[in-house]
Symmetry: C2
Subunit: 446 residues, 2 copies
């Protein structure tokens, strides 16, 4: 399909800056021209039109840390200490979740995300063959990196799942879906297995992937302060220094690793993240809600580490709302650093778009509005009282826009939502499925 | 008008707890019965109906610290250090604001607030006779305490304005609007003037108010750490101890004082706040954005101090969104206190409703859904993907509901918004006025 988005303010998140009264021409899945509406309108007059008057167009937003299936447990347990929360609430119910439940939870996250302007999600959960998160994202038309989470206690099962995931889903659905290898955390994946997974990732890449579209890693690093102690308890290893330093001794860190959290870092850890070009997925809302601590984001940015943003699961957030995450990130690091100039609106917006794309090794294709990139666009309606007056669009995008202001979403050149109507799936049907699944889960956990 | 809100889940924020499939009967401005829909429906069958199926009804939300007029400057200046922000940006443009501009800014805040479920605002700004914030709130049908901000450099002008405000607006518009006396801050109001204002408030109360509906105080206390130094510079007074302790020596603190911020407090300050029954209006978003510090809210709550919530102005937030404030408050004190059980969803919801009402000495009339109280209700549509599934309504209200989920708002028994359509004013006209005013202001400031 050929599309012309016209008459809006385009925040390109590239060296082209902002285009007022701008238009974007799309051929099939690609952006072919970006410029003034007056110039593009006559040239592309036969293209289907999307009127973006009073609207602001940004690159599709990327959520770089999620467990999409867990939206099924949104609000199931809150305001508890970590041990009670996990051991008494989350784990007992999670073990009853079937592949079908995982698929339904991921569908819910996918709908919510589209309706909030997120076009790409990096998700980590258990992969099962028939029903899974990849299938949900594919049906929704959402772009995603879908992983299988690996633990020492199920190595064989993990490798089978990873093999199947990579074969079935990597670079499938017109390249919308990619696979990842997801070692859960340094304290649940023993050092030998960590190295094995590195080797296995190499094999999977040789077999199913290309350097342009790699199978990457997605893991949790340094979320809580007691990770060195947990590693000692699990594997009888005494971690000298920080957890990143420990992982580096295993030679598993590289530019293809998306490391969620990175809250508790030593100075050396920060250096290693930079040196190995590890990507940090910052989840400010989840970190606050679980009282994990505050990631030293301004310091990481200063060092030149790629820092992107994520919601984390709907158990620790409880929304898949990246506009909220942008605002909280920008606020939190001002407050923590005692510096109102820290993490500007522009920086927060970059973290949710181009830096997110970099984090997923996908920035050749997405993350900014540029000719040759995939047409992933989030179009926001600024004709609302809470977005008036307008002095500077970037300020509103981070400090005033709400997810419900997202009007239209285009992914891979396809209109997934228009005027807030989701085009690819039946939203009522998904909501009904979710309620039914909740009741069935509660029956099983009794 | 007689109204029956029926078929919804009622969070009463009272000892009655939650009523599922509940109904609320309203005669004119008052709640006359709260119970099961099955019981109330036959009894009130001639009443106009509001169907609250799939909806959750909470007491109207109270925003206890705002400068409503300043929404006109939303996004005008961000990410700057406090001195540059105030001296180079905010003050130069504010001095060009006329009464009409103030009125238009307050209209904008009022519309935004209604659309986000806020039914009462406590606002501090400059009062002018013909056009002012009170007029804007009254036209909107919004409940509010409207103050005039007092400074040492304009004592005579202040007293004239306060007199006019109290006479014209206190307990007017069916009791929707109340007046307040607003000493700006301990470093801009000298000790003599502070005491004078206390005496003057007494006179105004004698003349225009009743003990049930008093003219209260609204002020800023201990927002930044350098207030003792600012007091020394302004008035050559050496503040020993904290700023609250200093104010207490002036004998101006009492249960009618709404003290915004209270970030930098000594232990003695906290004791005095409790002892004098001063009300604290906590503004977590504004405090983070301006890097003012974090108010010790859990400690204040533990002492039994009344702590309510506010957005502060749209220059330091930049939204009048109390659902966002509830979420950030609940998150922030978990993160800061390293305690995921701190400030539960229930507590945050109380702070935005009944504690807000207490802060404004208005809890006999508002803040909970109880027979005999004014019918101020916020009705939220839970039939949305991001609010599914539902395990516990209070969790969603704080961690997942967005301002745009507010469906219907009733104030003083009158429907101010229904199915997101504002009934009392023309929203398009206000947005047009706001844009026009912005251009005119920018011309004047050049």
């Amino acid at each position: 399909m050929n599309l012309l988005v016209e008459g809006g303010t385009i925040i390109t998140v590239s060296h082209k800056g902002i285009v007022k009264d701008g238009a974007i021409a799309i051929n099939d899945d690609k952006i072919v021209e970006v410029g003034k509406t007056s110039k593009l309108k006559p040239k592309y007059r036969r293209y289907e039109k999307i009127n973006a008057k009073n609207k602001v167009i940004i690159p599709g937003v990327t959520n770089t840390h999620h467990h999409a299936a867990m939206s099924l447990l949104r609000g199931y347990a809150d305001d508890l200490d970590l041990k009670t929360w996990l051991e008494k609430w989350i784990w007992p119910i999670e073990k009853h979740m079937t592949g079908k439940d995982i698929y339904i939870g991921a569908l819910l996250t996918a709908v919510e995300s589209i309706m909030g302007g997120t076009t790409t999600i990096n998700t980590m959960y258990h992969y099962t063959d028939e029903y899974n998160e990849a299938r949900a994202f594919a049906e929704m038309g959402l772009r995603g990196v879908v992983g299988h989470v690996c633990f020492s206690w199920r190595k064989k099962q993990d490798k089978r799942a990873l093999q199947s995931l990579a074969k079935t889903w990597h670079n499938k659905k017109d390249g919308l879906i990619r696979a990842s290898v997801d070692p859960h955390a340094p304290y649940t994946v023993d050092p030998e297995y960590m190295k094995e997974l590195r080797e296995f990732t190499h094999e999977l890449n040789e077999k199913y992937a290309s350097p342009k579209m790699p199978i990457i890693w997605h893991t949790h690093i340094a979320e809580t302060s007691n990770e060195p102690e947990k590693i000692r308890q699990s594997f009888k290893i005494r971690v000298k220094g920080g957890v990143v330093e420990y992982l580096d001794t295993l030679e598993v860190l590289s530019q293809d690793v998306v490391a969620a959290h990175c809250v508790h870092l030593t100075e050396k850890d920060k250096e290693i993240l930079k040196e190995r070009r590890v990507k940090v997925a910052h989840n400010p809302i989840s970190n606050l809600k679980l009282a994990s601590g505050i990631s030293p984001v301004p310091q990481l940015l200063k060092k030149g580490v790629t820092v992107s943003l994520g919601t984390d699961s709907s158990c620790s957030n409880n929304s898949s709302d990246m506009f909220e995450v942008m605002k909280v990130a920008a606020l939190l690091h001002k407050g923590m650093g005692n510096d109102p100039t820290a993490l500007s609106a522009e920086q927060a917006l970059r973290m949710a778009t181009i830096e997110g794309a970099k984090a997923l090794s996908w920035d050749k294709d997405i993350g900014s509005i540029e000719v040759g990139k995939k047409a992933d666009l989030t179009i926001i309606d600024f004709y609302k009282p809470h977005l008036r007056p307008v002095y500077k669009e970037e300020s509103h995008l981070v400090y005033a826009v709400k997810s419900a202001d997202v009007d239209t979403v285009i992914i891979n050149g396809k209109i997934v939502m228009e005027d807030r109507e989701v085009k690819t799936v039946n939203v009522d049907k998904i909501m009904a499925l979710v309620e039914k699944t909740k009741h069935s889960l509660l029956d099983r956990v009794k």
